[in-house]
């Protein structure tokens, strides 16, 4: 059966899975931004925390998803089976590029500029919001872009824990030896990743241009 025929026959289901996939990616990346960007900022203020925090974020990257799910199932609130567990895993996977790039972006600001700000009597908050964040924005956005694109691909593993998404077709296809099914899940996920990358790239260029 060709891919197009498959989509035509299962349009409803495909759209449902795409929506689930988008939901998983959107919620998990937004949570990762909300956690990762402040964490990256804190690291620039507390250099001693840098190694343990980035080390931990690195460790999460290396834990295979099925093992991570295994650990999460018994946990109350964030664990169990379903979307919440998948989102926790996706957030943990997305943290590293965001935290690291936020830290690098701010740490990379020319010390002379920072000194000038201090000399003008800026508070730490003013320094952060008016000097460091605007100047580090390009690097931070690059981290956000990587995290989002990677999440679109990683979200296919949500299907292993009963959270749905396009991974459902991939898992089903692998289970029953069916190339069409695998492609039916993999292709829209790849397109979604390309679209996310393109949109964020566009935003990056727009904002960089405006910055000049």
């Amino acid at each position: 059966m060709s891919l197009l025929a498959f989509y035509a026959r299962n349009a409803q289901e495909v759209l449902g899975l795409v929506a689930q996939h988008l939901y998983l990616v959107a919620v998990s990346t937004l949570l990762a931004f909300a956690l990762g960007i402040p964490l990256g900022i804190v690291l620039t203020r507390r250099p001693a925390w840098q190694r343990p925090v980035l080390g931990l974020a690195n460790v999460f990257q290396t834990v295979p998803s099925l093992a991570l799910f295994g650990f999460l199932i018994p946990l109350p609130f964030i664990g169990g089976i379903g979307a919440s567990t998948a989102i926790v895993a996706l957030v943990l996977y997305a943290l590293l590029p965001i935290v690291r790039n936020t830290y690098t972006g701010i740490a990379g600001v020319d010390p002379a500029v920072r000194e000038a700000g201090r000399g003008m009597g800026m508070t730490d908050w003013q320094l952060l919001t008016q000097v460091e964040l605007p100047l580090g924005f390009g690097v931070i956005l690059a981290g956000v872009r990587v995290a989002t694109v990677v999440s679109v691909g990683t979200a296919t593993i949500a299907a292993a824990i009963g959270a749905g998404g396009l991974g459902v077709y991939i898992f089903r296809g692998v289970a029953v030896v069916d190339d069409t099914l695998i492609l039916a899940g993999a292709l829209p996920a790849a397109l979604m990743a390309l679209a996310a990358d393109g949109l964020l790239g566009l935003a990056e260029r727009r904002l960089a241009w405006r910055g000049k």
């Binding site: 199932i73 292993a160 898992f171 692998v174 289970a175 030896v177």
Partner: protein, 289 residues
């Protein structure tokens, strides 16, 4: 090129393999398949002296089948019921002998592959519940499940949900209606979810070592719904022609592993985390009646 062929192709490139005169043994990505692959590999090494290359833990039936039909591996252990329904796409059947005859004939005709004699055990689907619940509600057979199903949650692997001989047929055969559609998840995680009380019934495999380790109970398939899944080596006919002694070595393993024995070997690997090669060596060296 199909996805499966691409995967095999890339795997081959990565391994950088040049094939000399050796036997390449594959296995699927779970312990029992690795164990049987290792037993077969060691048996060939001991009995024929041919060098054996191991390509273990390949991604399931799909990858193994593509690998052996494209000649990347020479043999792996397959289950008759899996070959019958998942590879040959026949409707589910229930008689072990006729299934074995059909896969033997069709594999020879379509793929140039030969089925060896089965090892002796039947690794069929196992409808599994917590022992606590089985005692409390008096469950021994799958038919008993119909009484409690409306209040229970099920969690099944994709293969079980998708296959013609899986959940849909089972639900019809036993009149099972669960409180919600079964949760689709990774098979290995279903055991954990059952033990943790996140779901109430799962479909495991009857030879899984986890069943005893997690204090679970397998319900009897009293209406004989599940097809037979006898494990046997599948080997390329070309290899058997070139090395008939391989066939002789494999024939010595026929009928040697019972269900209980396979469960014990799986528990050594999955529960006690013993080394696969060591388990296989001990088993092959153990005195036999």
């Amino acid at each position: 090129m199909t996805v499966g062929q691409s995967i095999v192709f890339v795997a081959t490139l990565l391994a950088g393999c040049g094939r000399a005169d050796r036997i390449v043994v594959g296995s699927k990505n779970f312990s029992e398949s690795d164990l049987l692959g290792e037993i077969v590999a060691q048996q060939i090494e001991r009995r024929t002296g041919l060098p054996v290359e191991r390509r273990f833990h390949l991604g399931g039936t799909f990858v193994c089948h593509h690998a052996i039909t494209s000649g990347q591996i020479d043999l792996y252990v397959e289950y008759t019921g899996t070959a019958y329904t998942a590879v040959l796409k026949f409707p589910p059947a229930h008689d072990a002998d006729s299934v074995r005859r059909a896969v033997t004939a069709e594999y020879a005709r379509r793929f140039g592959l030969t089925w060896g004699k089965p090892f002796g055990f039947n690794n069929t689907f196992a409808i599994t519940v917590r022992r606590r619940d089985a005692t409390r509600y008096g469950l021994t057979r799958i038919a008993d499940l119909a009484r409690v199903a409306s209040r229970w949650k099920a969690g099944f692997g994709y293969e079980f949900l998708e296959r013609a001989d899986g959940f849909r047929g089972l639900a019809d055969a036993y009149g099972l209606r669960f409180s919600a559609p079964p949760t689709a998840m990774d098979l290995g995680l279903t055991y954990r979810a059952l033990a943790e009380g996140k779901v109430d019934v799962i479909a495991g495999n009857s030879t899984d070592g986890q069943i005893e380790a997690l204090d679970l109970v397998v319900l009897e398939d009293d209406r004989h719904y599940f097809p037979p899944y006898e494990a046997a080596p599948v080997i390329r006919q070309a290899v058997l022609d070139a090395h008939p002694e391989v066939g002789t070595a494999l024939a010595l393993l026929a009928g040697r592993i019972t269900d209980a024995e396979m469960r014990r070997l799986n528990a050594l690997a999955d529960v006690e985390h013993k080394d696969i090669a060591g388990i296989a060596r001990d088993w092959l060296q153990a005195p036999r009646p």
